[in-house]
């Protein structure tokens, strides 16, 4: 038998880096909803605990959901994002919101435990999100090896693929990840081979750092602010300094990492079933 609190203690022991303490904004890693004393019946890992994911977890007998994004549609003040996202909705707005009420009721009625694992997972020496994504793309064999560096060190994001066009690369990624909402900046016919693969929201400072490596043709990531890194790449393309940017969507870029997280958990939690339940991309697009 294991309780949700014991589960967290075991995660802390195995994460391999000093555990970052709770943040005062309440959006940090740890139990967001549910009881620390709850007996864990099974664990679902996911990018984001949508109502649909919660239903799937419950119907397969799992009461603990470990997620990257918080269930209430906000990162709060977690990072000073400066108009890149909104501040957390006020308590009054959230408490009276019918969508949130339905979700909260589902969580409490079914005694679910929602655990957030984001910052500490990302602080590990191996980038689990990157490894998961590279695996989902079948790109492990293309990873550029670096002497003295651990594979999937968060700094080594480079892959050397067989030369192809930007359009074919985007199409291939779309097929492999089974997604619709993939967006591209750059000329479709551009010839590309060296790719930097990252996940989540790409900022301009990240792009500058990634492009210090010579001859990177394309950066593949989750999302980019449309008045920051997106036009930065438009300008890189116009200046002939890079071939493009491929945006997978937040979920598509992060979800495989939560599959990786399920495998990692199985290494030290053996009492209960553990399953990765992908949220799936939120969007569909016009054909």
């Amino acid at each position: 038998m294991i309780t949700s609190e014991q589960l967290i203690e075991r995660i802390q022991k195995n994460v391999g880096v000093p555990w970052q303490s709770q943040r005062s904004d309440g959006f940090s890693d740890g139990i967001l909803f549910g009881s620390a004393d709850a007996t864990v019946t099974g664990i679902a890992t996911t990018f984001t605990p949508t109502l649909d994911v919660l239903r799937k977890a419950l119907s397969s007998g799992k009461n603990v959901i470990i997620c990257r994004e918080a269930p209430s549609y906000s990162r709060g003040e977690r990072a000073p994002l400066f108009w890149r996202n909104g501040p957390a909705p006020s308590k009054e707005l959230l408490d009276n919101d019918p969508v949130w009420q339905a979700k909260q009721e589902f969580i409490s009625k079914n005694n679910l435990v929602i655990i957030r694992l984001f910052d500490n997972w990302d602080a590990r020496k191996t980038d689990g999100q990157l490894r998961g994504l590279a695996h989902a793309l079948g790109w492990e064999k293309f990873h550029v090896a670096r002497a003295g560096e651990n594979a999937y060190d968060p700094r080594n994001v480079y892959f050397r693929l067989t030369t192809t066009s930007l359009n074919s690369l985007a199409g291939d990624i779309k097929k492999k990840l089974n997604i619709q909402g993939l967006r591209v900046i750059g000329k479709p016919e551009s010839s590309v081979s060296k790719v930097a693969l990252t996940h989540g929201l790409l900022l301009v400072a990240d792009a500058e750092r990634i492009l210090r490596e010579p001859r990177v043709d394309v950066v593949v990531t989750g999302d980019a602010v449309e008045w920051e890194a997106a036009p930065y790449f438009q300008d890189l393309v116009s200046a002939g300094r890079a071939k493009g940017l491929i945006l997978l969507g937040e979920e598509a870029s992060e979800e495989p990492g939560n599959g990786e997280m399920a495998e990692w958990l199985k290494g030290f939690v053996t009492e209960v079933p553990i399953e990765w339940i992908p949220a799936g991309e939120p969007f569909w697009v016009l054909s």
Partner: protein
């Protein structure tokens, strides 16, 4: 290296031939006089680069002063660019961290070489009265002027449109806004008639959702609107989200800006040049 550095652009030639006396600073003074609201500071609406007191050859209005846009503006002979969004990739156009960035230097070099001036017109074009200039242009592009009503919040413009399906509405928007990267949440066949803009943030989505069938955002972080709307749908509500690129929500507002400028600036040509949807989607 790229297509950027044109030795003798039409713009430099124009500067050599004519003797225009109008400066960018004078144009901005007229804008301030005509905008219909007191000028407030601090504001993003400032000169970002170039000499405001140099003669101008023509004015380009646009959503975003990308390098490609600047190149096209120079080729059209317009050296004064009025942009709604930033030039140097941050909300406040902070350049102190960019001094060693080769792309920054490339862009600055292009602008200086072509004697261009860039001024941002964001806050006060939204604040323009009687109507937010960006939404006035958007409504016109959609042909929705007669369907619009104004909420208290400038981003909560609401519309009652002739009933259609979510998918048909999205296709109509795609063609009228000339956009390539609309993303949707909700049943394609959902019948819809009430639509509202919800800006870029979750609070506005929460505020407008009870009143409409479709929430429109033009750029909103994906962990906000998209996740909220898919839970709304999963909880049984008949709702949908249309997520436009930021450009698709605001570019037409700068076409409106060009029309508005022509009322009180007639010494130089004024042209709306769309920066365009930055994205395309593979088939």
């Amino acid at each position: 290296m790229g297509t950027g550095l044109v030795a003798a652009s039409p713009l430099v030639r124009a500067l050599g031939q004519s003797q225009p006396t109008l400066t960018a600073r004078e144009v901005v003074a007229r804008i301030k006089k005509n905008v219909g609201v007191p000028w407030h500071t601090p504001t993003a609406d400032e000169f970002k680069i170039g000499d405001p007191d140099a003669p101008i050859t023509g004015i380009t209005t646009t959503f975003m002063s990308t390098l490609d846009l600047l190149q096209r503006s120079a080729a059209a002979g317009n050296n004064f660019v009025i942009t709604h969004e930033p030039t140097f990739w941050s909300a406040a156009d902070v350049v102190s961290d960019l001094r060693d960035d080769p792309l920054y230097n490339y862009k600055v070099n292009f602008i200086e070489k072509n004697k261009m001036v860039v001024w941002r017109f964001h806050d006060h074009w939204h604040a323009h009265r009687p109507a937010d200039g960006i939404f006035a242009g958007w409504n016109k592009a959609m042909g929705w002027e007669s369907y619009a009503s104004l909420g208290a919040n400038p981003f909560s413009h609401q519309y009652v449109i002739p009933e259609t399906s979510l998918e048909e509405l999205a296709r109509d928007m795609q063609s009228k806004l000339k956009t390539r990267s609309i993303r949707l949440v909700g049943d394609p066949k959902l019948r819809v008639t009430k639509v509202a803009h919800a800006g870029h943030y979750i609070q506005q989505c929460m505020q407008v959702l009870p009143h409409v069938d479709v929430v429109l955002v033009f750029e909103c972080r994906e962990w906000e609107a998209a996740e909220y709307l898919r839970d709304a749908v999963a909880s049984g509500q008949k709702k949908a989200l249309i997520q436009l690129p930021h450009e698709g929500g605001e570019e037409d507002g700068m076409d409106e800006c060009a029309r508005w400028l022509r009322r009180f600036v007639n010494e130089v040509p004024i042209k709306f040049i769309p920066s365009g949807d930055p994205f395309w989607m593979p088939v």
